[in-house]
């Protein structure tokens, strides 16, 4: 018979057994769970790679009009230092008016371009020679396009994936010497290191208790809280990870995972991106000193930030070098040279997720039409856009400077004036610059795209275009009545437009009514033509928004965004050829496989003749009308065409205009719709003028359609005159629409002069035929 104590012992043993069994069971369940997590997540783990967005590549060729400093700026923005680094790519050197450039290799949409050396000579603000290292002439060279941001995963993690083989051996040595000396021999954790860490928690030893494997597990699977339970889970997962994967797989993943600090709101992950961000180079070109600096940052990227704490970062780097010398295999010479090296980080300004958030918004919007949002944020797509950083800079600085000046002059108080700018290539419809507000790095409200404001007189060209499409009724000289006018229509209050100067001007030639932006004459003309007809032409010009069919819409009681205005004016600037505004050229996969092109597309929306006449009238706006002030910025020979716009109580100030190579739209006003008390000519035009002046625009020269003839007009009588009439104007007319009757000032002498003119014309066309043009 069992004694009481025996029974008790038996029961205890039994319970203990059950408990042990239960524990073992729980442990194996936990292990199995962790194991499956480790395997599924590690195996299925693909780093979420942001879509990477590039500016247009700068294409160098002889004859390209670009000042040398602008090319240097582009290279600096690319992270090219201006010192020769023989044997490496990615630098430039200046000698007088010549640049030597060591271009990095780059995979373009249409294939890879290898690294190459070139020499570029400049003179008078243009490229005069372009040669390779051997002195052979190069027809055309694309520089790498500037990265201008990305579409990031939710946590704004950014990285550039690298293979282990691409990472310099010295980097790996330094990392292992500093972070985990037993890496190649341990099984996921290092008991000795753990013990050491436990014993000397307070001391500032280089090595922490965590192995590289543990650090990876921690970053990958776990939250950053510091509990014993979490530490144990980490340990088990590290062991499991080591069971399933070999050291090189673990190391490669670690190298792509590690966090290297913050670029504003963008998190720099992985050694590939860190090499680019801190040193402007590919990881394989990292020197020992640079590698040591990065390895040193692993412990605390903010604490050892080489920009904010250069001394601390330098000391840490040298410590890493010492460890590497002790435990790695670098020579004493290599060690000494690396210790003596400067920090060497690039002087690149912080970019954050993008320096051009407003333009990126436009790109993102276009991409979302064709791609899944999740793919955009994880597949590492490469998006090649149309942004021209030179133009963007000019637009930003003109807007910022002018707004600051207006604020100061007028003391309007807070919040200050706002503005937006859009610049496009009128022929192709490519958007070259987009500014969404005076705080150009701000990612919020984008006035260029999202703010629809009354456009005022900017709609007037559509009215004049409608009129000029009927040459038998309207020419540039047709008198338009600018006398008092009331428009009555059923279901709407009477409409009685007034002029800006509150006066009436009687009968004025059509071109003058536009040049002076007379509201009454324009309203009369528009209602004569029919509101519906005019609005139909506004749509044909490219405005897709539904417009209210009221007569007041003619004078700009219509809300459009600056981008929509740019679309409308693009069609005018290209002579009637509508091209949808585009911000993207090509999209490729991460590896460079082409996915999609957004090709140039044009469509003839209007006959060339009325467009030619309208453009001539818009050149008059600048030469003698409301936009005369432009002469303070640009020489009259550029023959800019444009239109000012000002709304009621001067809430909105606009200017839209074009040169031979660029179209720009500027809006200025208050977000809360307060009266700005600034006209289009006083506020928007100076921004436009200052911006364009910085870009040395090409003159606007129109291709004269066959059916257009130029006729001398006597301005006094509006009759056919000649050059000898006082103030004679040569105006374009659709053939047969010019006045027949001759002014008295055009006498016999003039008839002779005209005959000579005609002879010269014939000779010119004979020469053209002879030389094929």
């Amino acid at each position: 018979m069992l004694s009481r104590t025996q029974i008790l012992r038996y029961l205890r043993l039994r319970y203990l057994g059950w408990a042990a069994l239960g524990l073992a069971f729980a442990a194996s369940v936990l292990t199995l769970y962790l194991d499956s997590r480790v395997r599924s997540e590690f195996e299925g783990r693909r780093f979420a790679l942001p879509a990477r967005i590039y500016a247009r590549p700068l294409e160098l060729h002889v004859g390209l009009r670009i000042p040398q400093p602008d090319v240097e700026q582009e290279l600096r923005d690319l992270g090219y230092p201006d010192v020769a680094r023989e044997g490496e790519a990615g630098w430039f050197a200046r000698s007088g008016n010549e640049l030597e450039i060591a271009l990095r290799a780059f995979v373009f949409w249409d294939g890879p371009q290898p690294a190459k050396r070139l020499r570029v000579a400049f003179e008078g603000g243009a490229v005069t020679a372009l040669r390779d290292a051997g002195g052979a002439e190069l027809p055309l060279v694309r520089l790498e396009p500037l990265p201008i941001g990305g579409i990031y995963p939710a946590n704004n993690e950014d990285r550039v994936l690298v293979r282990l083989a691409e990472v310099p051996q010295q980097f790996v040595q330094a990392l292992i010497a500093t972070e985990d000396r037993q890496f190649y021999s341990h099984k996921g954790f290092d008991p000795r290191a753990l013990a050491r860490a436990a014993l000397s928690l307070a001391s500032d030893k280089v090595q922490g208790g965590s192995t590289i494997t543990q650090q990876l597990v921690k970053n990958f699977f776990l939250t950053p809280e510091r509990t014993l339970q979490r530490k144990l889970t980490e340990l088990m997962m590290a062991v499991l990870l080591e069971l399933h994967y070999d050291k090189s797989e673990i190391l490669e993943t670690y190298l792509n995972e590690i966090y290297f600090g913050q670029d504003r709101d963008r998190a720099i992950h992985g050694v590939g991106l860190a090499a680019q961000f801190y040193f402007g180079k590919e990881v394989q070109h990292l020197t020992l000193a640079e590698a040591a600096l990065l390895v040193g940052m692993v412990k605390g990227p903010a604490y050892y930030d080489p920009y904010r704490h250069p001394q601390r970062a330098l000391e840490r780097r040298n410590l890493v070098l010492r460890e590497t010398r002790e435990h790695g295999s670098i020579t004493l010479e290599q060690y000494a040279a690396a210790r003596a090296a400067e920090l060497g980080v690039t002087r690149k300004p912080a970019m954050g997720t993008s320096p051009y958030p407003a333009f990126l918004r436009l790109v993102h919007r276009q991409m979302r039409r064709d791609y899944d949002e999740a793919d955009l944020r994880s597949e590492g797509l490469r998006i090649f856009t149309t942004l021209d950083p030179r133009v963007q800079r000019a637009a930003e600085s003109a807007l910022i400077r002018r707004l600051a000046q207006f604020d100061k002059e007028r003391r309007f108080g807070e919040p200050g004036l706002e503005g937006a700018v859009v610049v496009t290539d009128p022929q192709s419809g490519e958007v070259q610059a987009l500014v969404g507000g005076r705080d150009v790095r701000y990612r919020g409200y984008n006035r260029a795209i999202d703010a629809a404001r009354p456009v005022g007189s900017l709609l007037k060209p559509a009215i004049y275009l409608t009129a000029l499409s009927e040459p038998s009724r309207y020419t540039l000289l047709t008198p338009i009545d600018d006398g008092p006018f009331v428009w009555k229509s059923r279901g709407a209050p009477d409409w009685e437009p007034s002029n800006y100067d509150k006066k009436f001007h009687g009968a004025v030639p059509l071109r003058v009514a536009l040049a002076q932006s007379y509201n009454v004459a324009t309203a009369r003309l528009g209602t004569e033509l029919g509101v519906e007809r005019v609005l139909a032409n506004v749509r044909r010009l490219g405005v897709e928004r539904e417009l209210q069919p009221f007569a007041s819409a003619l004078l700009g009681a219509t809300d459009l965004s600056p981008l929509e205005v740019a679309q409308m004016y693009q069609t005018i600037a290209s002579g009637g050829w509508r091209a949808p505004l585009r911000s993207i050229r090509e999209v490729t996969t991460q590896e460079g496989r082409p996915l999609q092109r957004y090709p140039l597309a044009v469509e003839q929306a209007f006959a060339p003749e009325p467009m030619y006449l309208l453009t001539a009238a818009m050149q008059d706006v600048v030469r003698e009308g409301t936009a005369q002030g432009l002469k303070n910025f640009l020489p009259p020979e550029l023959a800019v065409a444009g239109k000012t716009g000002t709304t009621d109580e001067q809430r909105d100030a606009w200017f839209a205009g074009f040169t031979g190579d660029r179209l720009g739209v500027v809006w200025i006003g208050y977000d809360d719709n307060r009266a700005a008390r600034l006209s289009g000519a006083a506020a928007a035009l100076p921004v436009w003028g200052e911006m364009m002046a910085a870009l040395a625009p090409e003159p606007l020269a129109l291709a004269k359609p066959d059916r257009i003839e130029l006729v001398w007009i006597d301005p006094q009588t509006g009759l056919r005159g000649s050059m000898s009439c006082a103030g004679a104007l040569e105006l374009p007319f659709v053939q047969g629409s010019a006045p027949e009757e001759r002014a008295t000032c055009s006498g016999a002498l003039d008839a002779a002069v005209e005959a000579v003119d005609a002879t010269v014309e014939r000779a010119k066309s004979w020469l053209e035929r002879l030389f094929g043009k």
Binding site: T128, L140, D425, R585, R597, L600, A696, K704
Partner: protein, 146 residues
């Protein structure tokens, strides 16, 4: 830059009032400038690439090369014409016709070029099933070509 402006204004001054001005591919760089010849090298190189790509069936690449060239010389009617040819091969008949017409808008008095554009337009119209339109385009080509 200044040079270009001065020259163009002088040219303009001879013929017409500045601003309402000249016939054709305007504002050629002055002939003495080192630019003009080599600028053609860039264009010629891209044109060559485009033709090679098109011949090899890489039509998107051919179009991209021509678009690059057009960014440098947007008023060159030969580039627009070549692009029209590529659009035709790509089966984008509406664009082929538009782009050929765009070439015509810069072609000035180059009748051979214009006639060729009308032939391309005729081809595009035929492909879209517009036989009548195609015939009209061919007639125009015939008339100009003579």
């Amino acid at each position: 830059m200044k040079y270009v402006i001065i020259v163009s204004s002088v040219l303009a001054g001879c013929a017409t009032v500045p601003g309402l001005e000249p016939d054709l591919p305007p504002v050629q760089p002055p002939e003495t400038a080192p630019a003009s010849r080599s600028e053609n090298i860039a264009i010629a190189g891209l044109m060559e690439n485009a033709r090679a790509d098109a011949a090899a069936g890489r039509l998107a690449n051919a179009a991209a090369a021509l678009e690059r060239a057009l960014r440098i010389e947007p008023r060159n009617p030969r580039l627009w014409q070549e692009l029209a040819r590529v659009r035709l091969k790509q089966g984008q008949y509406a664009q082929a016709e538009s782009v050929a017409a765009r070439s015509n808008s810069w072609a000035g008095s180059d009748n051979a070029l214009r006639a060729e554009n009308w032939r391309l337009i005729a081809e595009a119209r035929t492909a879209r099933g517009d036989a009548e339109g195609a015939r009209a385009a061919l007639d125009t080509a015939e008339r100009i070509g003579r």
